[in-house]
């Protein structure tokens, strides 16, 4: 019984190195959502790519822009309504009570702190320090009336969709859309 209760250990698979396969050299991660879990997925993948020695570019658009604003980057929420995977069985009417979403987001952030997962602004700094580049979408920035100074310093530029595709140029690039 004792054994079952123990914390599972993480194992690292030994990956055989095949020099002939086409390696992923660069990822372009497009983050179009502003929910805590979606933004973290984008950040973890971008940082993970850098850790593996790949290049990483990030393009934030639409609600994803929330994640790179000075005002809201560290105050993202997770959705408790319209999210069937969040506490299955929880009636929508309860999940929608005032303050419930804030509470759920607070609990989620607390769990993340335990795992040593940085806050969004620190994560963006880590990505920039690792050589990653962060961009904002011009169309969405215009729509939400956001200017360069509204974004965290790590945002390199506000660019068009065409410029975004130029970021993906080169052999071995993968585009990931969130």
């Amino acid at each position: 019984m004792q054994e079952i209760l123990e914390r599972p250990t993480t194992k690292v698979a030994e990956v055989p190195v095949d020099k002939n396969k086409g390696k992923v050299k660069k990822v372009l991660i497009i983050c179009s959502k502003g929910k805590l879990e979606d933004v973290y997925a984008a950040l973890v993948m971008a940082n993970g790519a850098l850790m593996e020695g790949m290049q990483a570019k990030m393009f934030f658009t639409f609600f994803g822009l929330e994640a790179i604003t000075k005002k809201n980057a560290d105050h993202l929420h997770t959705a408790t309504v319209g999210n069937p995977a969040f506490m299955p069985g929880m009636p929508t009417v309860v999940a929608g009570l005032p303050g419930f979403e804030a509470f759920a987001s607070y609990m989620m952030k607390k769990e993340m702190d335990k795992l040593d997962i940085p806050h969004v602004t620190e994560f963006l700094q880590m990505i920039e320090a690792g050589g990653g580049e962060i961009y904002a979408c011009k169309l969405a920035a215009d729509m939400f009336h956001l200017k360069k100074e509204d974004f965290v310093d790590e945002v390199k530029e506000i660019i068009t969709v065409g410029d975004m595709y130029a970021l993906a140029e080169g052999e071995g690039t993968q585009i990931i859309f969130i």
């Binding site: 990956v15 055989p16 190195v17 973890v44 593996e52 020695g53 940085p118 880590m126 690792g130």
Partner: protein
């Protein structure tokens, strides 16, 4: 199981080249392993390697963020010291297992 022969000593490594036993590590072995990665080890590199070994021995889960907070190097310097996958490469040279870290 694969082995490296260094100075007449057989050193067991896994298929990715990580040492099976971190006690077989020597600074000279680190220099040899680093040169295979195209890195010429400086004192700063050794500061990081020794820090990694100490933390590994303490059972701490290693991450890029922890190295950034170590006070030895910031994250940018860490990437510059061990280009092309700093946590993996530095761990290999430090003779410790490949870190199971996503951050």
């Amino acid at each position: 199981m694969e082995t490296l022969t260094y100075n007449g000593t057989q050193i067991e490594v896994n298929t990715e080249g990580y040492l099976k036993d971190m006690n077989q590590w020597t600074p000279e072995l680190a220099r040899t392993m680093a040169s295979q990665e195209g890195i010429d080890l400086t004192e700063k590199h050794f500061d990081v390697l020794n820090w990694l070994r100490t933390k590994q021995a303490e059972g701490t889960a290693l991450s890029i963020r922890k190295i950034g907070n170590s006070g030895l190097v910031d994250i940018k310097q860490f990437y510059a010291l061990f280009p092309g996958g700093p946590l993996k490469i530095s761990s290999k040279i430090a003779g410790i297992p490949k870190p199971a870290s996503c951050i």
